[in-house]
């Protein structure tokens, strides 16, 4: 079933490419139907997923490259199932969002998009490190072209910057990955299997469990994922990529690609390299290693920087999309600080925040896209009074803003609070300082709301059409999710509660 989910978009890509050039509508319809299939499968998985066990479910394992003991091994557990659902959900939404505003080469666009979807779904399912890496990198190519061909005026710069940053990270990951493979056993018994590696890395005396090794391997993987997340100071590609990318691609970028980084941090750094993790999240541990205890604050500190720096940058933006991009950086900070706590609350919060941010940032980018399609600019100060002109649009935007700034009752609140709650028991000062991010977050969202929707209607936009049915269709499922998860977070928390417990937690 997982393989079906991974490769149906790939088949869809071939199908889309075979459609004659002049039948554009047909290509869109095919792509839409193709993306509905993984969604359907994801919903089935979500329903049939056994919430009471922590292990892997729906696993498939076939020998792929026997000389290196590489398996085609896919499966899901509580960590990946929600992200899988998110990916599958954003697929059809993004095809819908691209329906009218992609003018040239829609066929190639959809084909690349479907390839991207294969890469993303595969990444969240992969349980073999090699496969994991391949899917991680596969997403680069379509993304590069999607930004570079269909993006805004500075698309070439943004596309290559994205590519160079992510590839550099990927290369360090490759070194770490090979090192982990080589340490996993004597020649012939080496493995890339993530569950096995996790087991070996926690076996005392095993080469993989060696502390120094874990710290170096941690750094290799961490930088690779940190660029993807992105964590300060590796974040500079993100605002550029977001601003230039077409709406649907921004949605994928914020909704899924950033989660690939944080998911990797949980799956590899957290689960597989516990001592490496401890070194950067526990001052006592760093001290016991004979290093400055400051190392132990490393991850939480980076999370704090992301929150505060991202929020302050967002506050300074006048470009609507850039504002949302920087707010993403801030929200990723909450995930980091939750991870750094390494306790149940922090981790639950971090994982929930991944899902929530995927939903909310997707909404925000879709909303920016709606107004951009009509006004052809994104200057926050260039609007004004849209509230009376587009009441429905204003309503949905307000919902998304409130969810993003962490209003209780909406999903953003739950994730952030759990993360901070978890972190408070470990990093008191940093956590308290981080909450300032929420305040600044409220400031920039409310200020934007005021500048765009309230006040005198800008006469230029007196005949701006209201949000249409197709656009509403892309937003409604996400809006429902934010409300439902806000009042009833346990439907998501139940999914990964068990999985979180088997991670090397430190209460």
């Amino acid at each position: 079933m997982l393989s079906l989910m991974i490769f149906i978009p790939l088949l869809g890509m071939v199908a889309v490419l075979l459609i004659p050039r002049d039948r554009e509508e047909l290509a869109k319809q095919v792509a839409f139907v193709v993306t509905l299939i993984p969604l359907l499968l994801a919903v089935i998985l979500f329903v049939r997923y056994d919430r009471s066990v922590s292990g892997l479910q729906f696993a498939e394992k076939t020998m792929w490259i026997s000389v290196f003991n590489i398996y085609y091994h896919v499966g899901i557990d509580g960590l990946s199932v929600t992200l899988l659902l998110l990916t599958a959900l954003l697929g059809p939404i993004c095809v819908l969002a691209s329906w009218r505003n992609i003018e040239k080469g829609i066929k190639a666009y959809l084909a690349l998009f479907l390839l991207l979807e294969t890469g993303m779904i595969g990444f969240f399912c992969a349980l073999d490190l090699f496969l994991f890496y391949v899917f991680f990198e596969i997403t680069l190519l379509p993304m590069y072209f999607l930004i570079g061909i269909w993006g805004g005026p500075r698309r070439e710069y943004a596309a290559i910057k994205f590519f160079l940053y992510t590839l550099s990270g990927g290369m360090l990951m490759l070194v770490a990955m090979i090192a982990v493979y080589l340490e996993s056993g004597p020649a012939g018994a080496r493995t890339f299997d993530i569950p096995t590696l996790i087991q070996l890395a926690t076996t005392p005396g095993h080469a993989l469990a060696d502390r120094t090794f874990q710290i170096w391997a941690f750094l290799g993987f961490f930088i690779g994922f940190a660029i993807k997340v992105p964590i300060f100071p590796f974040h500079t590609w993100l605002p550029d990529a977001h601003v230039e990318a077409p709406t649907a691609i921004s949605v994928i970028l914020a909704g899924i690609l950033l989660k690939m980084g944080t998911y990797g941090l949980v799956r590899i750094n957290f689960a597989m390299l516990p001592d490496g993790m401890a070194f950067f999240t526990d001052p006592e541990f760093a001290k016991a290693m004979g290093r400055s205890p400051m190392w132990g604050n490393g991850l939480a500190f980076l999370g704090f920087i992301n929150i505060v720096y991202g929020s302050l940058c967002a506050l300074a933006q006048t470009d609507f999309k850039k504002l949302v991009a920087y707010s993403s950086i801030a929200h990723m900070g909450f995930i980091l600080i939750g991870l750094a706590a390494r306790n149940e609350s922090g981790l639950n919060g971090a994982i929930l925040q991944m899902f929530n941010h995927g939903v909310i940032s997707a909404m925000l980018f879709l909303l920016v896209g709606v107004v951009y399609d009509r006004a052809h600019h994104r200057e926050i100060n260039g609007f004004g009074g849209l509230g009376s002109q587009m009441p429905i649009y204003t309503g949905i935007t307000t919902l998304a803003f409130m969810a993003s700034l962490g209003l209780p009752g909406l999903s953003g609140f739950v994730g952030e609070v759990l993360s901070l709650l978890g972190a408070y028991s470990k990093f008191k000062v940093l956590t308290i300082l981080s909450t300032s991010g929420i305040v600044v977050g409220a400031a920039y969202f409310l200020w934007t709301l005021q500048r765009v929707f309230l006040g005198q209607l800008n006469p230029k936009y007196a005949d701006m059409p209201e949000i249409n049915g197709r656009e509403i269709a892309t937003l409604v499922p996400l809006g429902i999710l934010t409300v439902v998860l806000g009042v009833w977070p346990s439907i998501a928390l139940d999914m990964f509660n068990q999985a979180v417990r088997v991670l090397p937690l430190v209460p």
Partner: protein
């Protein structure tokens, strides 16, 4: 094995010689000048050569009184070289660059250089090594300067000769020193003789060091490693494009065959006073860095690919100096992958040069809409050269880096990987021109079906080897044969 007894095992080379003459005679006798007859005749010859190579087999034999060796390692390179030559001939068919009246000589020379490369892949005697290297060099000089009407081509040939003469002179000097000290030219005897001499303290270490360095200079020139790479950008830029493709793949492969054989049989002995491995690892790091950095500002695609090919020498060298079978296996695997992706990229350059009439990156503008198949193929070849999964180049690089990290050479692996990132930038400039920019002219370009088929022949392995590579990897292991003992 004596000379006469050796002849049956030398049939592939003999077939090549026969066809060299046959092509010349055909060209003289043919009434219609400028036909492609000599090309097809050469292709028939190469097909026969491949069959003969396989029939003769790969059982270890020392031929012609220890001058050359027949083994699976040599067989591997013979097949690679033949495929590259065949591709070069196919590329040259209907090429606008070449004068149709000289096509006969052109093909005869290509077959002759192939013969020389066969010898390079199998020589085990210093004298034979020198002779084979010279055979290849001399014919390559002519091929590089084959465009007699083009000053650039003549310049290329002249530079090639000047550098080549210095390099081979240096090498010959090294050979004479080594021969004078050890009294043998047999590469296999060399290492035991040197060990013996070092054990009895009957040697000047500096003289040995110098002579081996000189010999490596000759080989380094052939594979275009730093600091012997200076000739290659000018030669690659000036030579006819099929010849550039040929030099970058076949010549390099033969050079690596020679290098590995010399290095592993001759220069590595237990009490070596110099850490050759480390020294050459530094050379490899320099080679890839210089190649990649110099490629960054290039506007001419041929020149860009020339520098990138220097960088790839660096990657290959990285695997070759490890002294492990994993490293060598990775080198052989990479050469197979490199054969397809690099020849494919050069083939696109040929197609664009003849259709658009430009060798600069600007000429590639808007190709994505003007010639989608060619543009997508080029993108696939270039991304494979960078080493992005799921393309074959990724697997090649993966195997190389795996071998390097296995030897704990983390610094080398990281330099290599950062180089891959640098290379992304200049390869992506071509991709950017093709897909992100628009051309002044917009009419679609059409290519003959033969060309499209040829392009697809190069694409298939580039894609397939990225996804499933066990058989080819096993083949590279078998090809190592007894080399690693």
């Amino acid at each position: 094995m004596t000379n006469v007894a050796s002849i049956p095992y030398f049939i592939p080379e003999l077939i090549l010689i026969v066809f060299v003459m046959a092509v010349i005679i055909y060209d003289l006798a043919a009434k219609k000048k400028g036909s492609e007859g000599s090309a097809y005749l050469s292709l028939v010859g190469l097909a026969m050569v491949v069959i003969a190579v396989i029939v003769v087999g790969s059982e270890d034999r020392s031929l012609f009184l220890g001058m050359i060796r027949l083994d699976s390692f040599a067989m591997f390179f013979k097949i690679i070289i033949t495929v590259a030559t065949a591709a070069t001939i196919l590329f040259s068919i209907r090429s606008d660059e070449l004068d149709p009246r000289t096509k006969g000589e052109y093909h005869a020379l290509l077959l002759a250089v192939t013969f020389g490369m066969f010898l390079m892949a199998s020589s085990t005697h210093l004298l034979m090594i020198y002779l084979s290297l010279e055979t290849v060099s001399l014919t390559s000089y002519i091929l590089a300067g084959f465009l007699t009407h083009s000053p650039r081509s003549s310049e290329a040939a002249f530079k090639y000769i000047t550098y080549g003469a210095v390099a081979s002179g240096t090498m010959l000097f090294g050979i004479s020193l080594l021969f004078g000290m050890t009294g043998t030219g047999d590469v296999i005897l060399l290492s035991s003789r040197l060990t013996e001499m070092f054990n009895t303290d009957d040697v000047y270490p500096l003289a040995v060091l110098l002579s081996i360095t000189f010999i490596l200079a000759g080989v380094g020139y052939k594979i275009a490693s730093v600091p012997f790479h200076m000739w290659s950008p000018d030669v690659y830029e000036g030579a006819p494009i099929p010849i550039t493709a040929f030099l970058s793949v076949a010549s390099k492969s033969a050079g690596f065959a020679l290098f590995i054989r010399l290095f592993y049989f001759g220069f590595v002995w237990e009490e070596a006073s110099v850490d050759w491995s480390l020294m050459l690892a530094v050379v490899s790091a320099l080679t890839m860095t210089v190649g990649n950095l110099a490629a960054l500002p290039q506007q001419n695609v041929k020149r860009l690919l020339a520098y990138s090919s220097i960088a790839h020498s660096g990657y290959l060298l990285m695997g070759a100096v490890l002294l492990t079978s994993e490293g060598l296996q990775a080198v052989l695997f990479y050469l197979i992958v490199y054969l397809f992706m690099n020849l494919g990229a050069f083939f696109v350059v040929i197609l664009i040069a003849s259709e658009v009439g430009s060798e600069t990156i600007d000429g590639y503008r808007g190709l994505g809409s003007r010639a989608p198949l060619v543009a997508v193929s080029m993108a696939i070849f270039l991304f494979s050269l960078i080493g992005i999964p799921p393309l074959a180049g990724f697997v090649g690089k993966w195997l190389l880096f795996w071998a390097v990290i296995q030897e704990q050479l983390y610094w080398l692996a990281i330099i290599g990987l950062l180089n891959s990132v640098v290379s992304l930038y200049y390869y992506a400039r071509i991709v950017k021109a093709m897909f992100f920019e628009t051309a002044d002219e917009t009419e679609t370009l059409s290519f003959s079906s033969g060309h499209r088929v040829l392009l697809i022949i190069f694409i298939i392995p580039t894609l397939l080897l990225g996804v499933y590579w066990t058989p080819v990897y096993e083949f590279s292991k078998v090809s190592l044969g007894k080399l690693m003992g």
